[in-house]
Symmetry: C2
Subunit: 266 residues, 2 copies
């Protein structure tokens, strides 16, 4: 691993739960030498990627990200595109629609839209990250990721978020083929109790899966009718989003009108 990667990976230890971290603690977390971490933090700080809290204390993420994020969004208005489709998706289904991007080993939220049709809604959080094994979006991404990546991800200890979370790697692997034939993944209560989530993959210009678009509804509201409607709308909007972002689904991706009634020919 290059020095730059080490420096950048330090940033991943900052999270919603641990927004600021001391030097020694960060050295411990990263497994790097304290002197190394100190020097790397110094370089990150010089560019505004981290800053020290108060006077000579812990470190936290710096202000440079605001500028770079604004610039990125000006150049590549992903969030805008996503919001447009999420709004339509949310309106059509009456449920929470969201989109997340693959960021290393987890998915990070890009945007989400609530519906106002019901009194209760599945809530999202900007700074929350989604695990690959326990969410519908994660399964959708895994289904369209290279085998080496899947193996890598499933070789780690899989945390059990709820009693419904599937933590057996082989059981998860077994789900992927059917997700691939459908083009959509589903997860019931794997991440949060009582949440039924459908998700479709999003691809970049090289047909790599870069994230997922999803609709999350309370289990109690899920009916066959709603499920069909969600699958239909989600598929269409995910496809459009991929296209508008300049991406292409891989050749293996099912066409919009699935050959449901057709028998496989070989």
């Amino acid at each position: 691993m290059g020095t730059t990667s080490k420096a950048l990976s330090l940033l991943n230890f900052f999270s919603r739960a641990t927004p600021q971290i001391g030097l020694s603690e960060l050295a411990r977390l990263s497994g790097l030498n304290k002197a190394t971490v100190y020097r790397l933090l110094g370089e990150l700080a010089a560019h505004g990627f981290v800053e020290q809290v108060g006077t000579g204390r812990e470190y936290r993420l710096g202000p440079a990200f605001l500028r770079l994020a604004a610039l990125r969004e000006k150049n590549v208005p992903m969030r805008d595109v996503a919001l447009k489709h999420l709004t339509e998706l949310s309106d059509a289904t009456g449920e929470t629609a969201h989109m997340s991007l693959l960021n290393g080993e987890v998915l990070s939220n890009l945007a989400y839209v609530y519906s106002n049709r019901h009194g209760t809604m599945v809530m999202m959080d900007d700074a929350e990250v989604l695990e690959l094994h326990s969410t519908g979006s994660g399964l959708a991404v895994l289904a369209y990721s290279p085998k080496s990546f899947v193996d890598e991800m499933l070789s780690r200890p899989l945390t059990s978020r709820t009693p419904q979370t599937i933590t057996d790697p082989n059981q998860i692997r077994a789900l992927l083929p059917s997700i691939r034939t459908e083009g959509i993944a589903a997860s019931v209560g794997g991440f949060e109790e009582d949440v039924f989530s459908h998700a479709a993959p999003i691809f970049d210009a090289r047909s790599n899966c870069i994230g997922a678009m999803a609709v999350a509804a309370p289990v109690s509201r899920m009916t066959d009718t709603l499920r069909m409607m969600i699958r239909d709308k989600l598929m269409a909007h995910a496809r459009q989003t991929t296209r508008i972002l300049g991406g292409f689904p891989p050749d293996t991706f099912p066409t919009r009108e699935p050959q449901m009634m057709l028998q496989k020919e070989a």
Copy 2:
């Protein structure tokens, strides 16, 4: 300069005007070897800090910034705080209020608020950067920056944005003492024609100047009355913003009620 700094400085070559850059071009711009740039870009890309456009072409800023910016704003709601005070400032003065943060050699916009009192307003742009020598905000920052930094900044060639832009380093240096005694900087048409800008510095917990809060009005609307009112309100809101962000003005910073009528004692 460490390897990490080199990698991070590559990011600064992406701008509103040049949102995507090829490998050779970036090597040329940065003065680094092409192989080096290639490797650094690879590491940046692995963390989502850059990505390649389409298939095997130029590079652009990556999606990771969206997540990190969201996380930063959750932890340190600078923009929220700024917007609150900018709104009040804009309401009180009837003009455009904005705040920017020092980012290396330039100021980058954090937030801005327009007033609806007049038909014409000074417009801002999220991804725009402000030069230190040609803007009110820049002068405010220079006035409260270490001499070494000022020397460094004024030793570069100073671009002339308008005929009114002051490009003589010594002339700029001569402005700084009076800014320091006032606590507020002013610039008339230095950055954009017909824009009269007042700016006050913002400080961090170590009393370093980290940016500026400003009010920008068309020259044609500027009167003594408005000028007084802007200075007053701007001073108050900049002070509050500094405090709420956890910062402290340096000891040399003028108190809220300036000793206007008092003669210097030495």
